[in-house]
Symmetry: none
Subunit: 230 residues, 2 copies
């Protein structure tokens, strides 16, 4: 297992410093932000993390609003979030958990407790996160690297597989050509190329062997979308 990336949103430098010390190990990597806005900027740059520690008392954007935004975003909604606030601030705690935070910890807290909670939440999310993605009659089993369409195994090449997995992970959302190219290929340039269309075509035709339904939809001018409904 590779390093777990932790995003910390905390304006008090002396505290975020503590986090960095606490999680300075083989197992974790910390990135601190003073404001929630900075974190969202990081997400826009396609940065990823395994868990977020979010202080609710923040300058700028309110912590609970940040939480709402995180849970609303397709790519961020499944990241576990631990909210942090001053002791006794029962209202924030309850509201935060209601908004979808996964855990709560009150200041002041012991580092050991925090580490334990972080580990527990990461374990949970990876456990349930599932090696299996399923939409309609299509199932991708990532552990086995197999794809079933209405029960029939379909042989996909590596790129086709990555492409399908990406689209299904973002199911119902349009994925930009650009995003696809960055994720599946590592293109830094997006010059005219028919490569992507090519793979979409072969993916479609392989899926069509066993299903009538159209799963991969073209969104003209933007990209592609995977969805079981027309």
């Amino acid at each position: 297992m590779n390093k777990h990336k932790i995003f910390v949103v905390e304006d008090d430098r002396s505290i975020s410093g503590l986090y960095e010390i606490a999680f300075d190990s083989e197992e974790f990597e910390v990135e601190c932000f003073e404001r929630a806005e900075d974190m969202f900027r990081a997400f826009e740059k396609q940065e990823k993390c395994d868990i977020i520690i979010l202080d609710l008392m923040l300058p700028g954007m309110n912590g609970l609003d940040a939480l709402k935004l995180l849970k609303a975003g397709e790519s961020t909604k499944s990241i576990p979030i631990i909210i942090v606030s001053a002791k006794g601030d029962e209202k924030d705690k309850v509201e935060g958990l209601n908004l979808g935070a996964d855990d709560y910890i009150a200041k002041p807290f012991g580092m050991l407790e925090l580490i334990a909670r972080v580990k527990a939440n990461i374990r949970k999310s990876t456990l349930a996160g599932g090696e299996i993605i399923s939409v309609g009659e299509i199932t991708v089993n990532n552990a086995e690297h197999r794809v079933l369409v209405a029960g029939n195994e379909v042989q996909l090449t590596l790129k086709e597989y990555k492409l399908l997995k990406l689209l299904m992970e973002r199911c119902d959302n349009v994925v930009t050509r650009e995003k696809i190219l960055t994720a599946v290929w590592d293109y830094e340039y997006f010059g005219e190329t028919r490569t992507l269309d090519m793979h979409i075509k072969s993916l479609r035709s392989k899926l069509a062997q066993f299903t009538e339904a159209q799963y991969i939809h073209t969104v003209r001018g933007v990209g592609y979308k995977f969805s079981k409904n027309k």
Copy 2:
């Protein structure tokens, strides 16, 4: 390998009927209970199962309480449990996983996904078991360090043996080249090397002495997979 017994706790008859259809095969046998209490009664009668599919919305005993009980019982604590609940019931999901459930699936779900999850969890639990790994006609006896193919002993060299064992432990799952190299050799560097292919080749040809079937499949761009099916 004998039939895997699945206990299903589900009060909705139309759904438990689906389970029976989905798992009606050589590989599985299903027993349905409408209430958790009925399942415990079965356990009291010394009935056994390999996995439990537990709906959390139940009449009578609460699903989470049943889960606690199962995890508390000496004879039931190690049975993998997949919990089922309505989509978006995030709280139950998290709590269930905290209480020791092994996997989670949201209603409504596709049968293929369910089957895949059941298989994955059964595999996980049997893996932990013993000194003897057996898939199809191939058996690795780790205690004696011997390998049988369709009853015939095959002489393997050390690397071949480690390689085979690794692949069989992860049976049906793709193992990355990288992982193999780390596990069998202790490469930290993964430059171009034909060493692995070499050993795969000799392993294949040794197995082929006594069986027609292909057990070691290459997954181009990823690694290798051991599996008795195609």
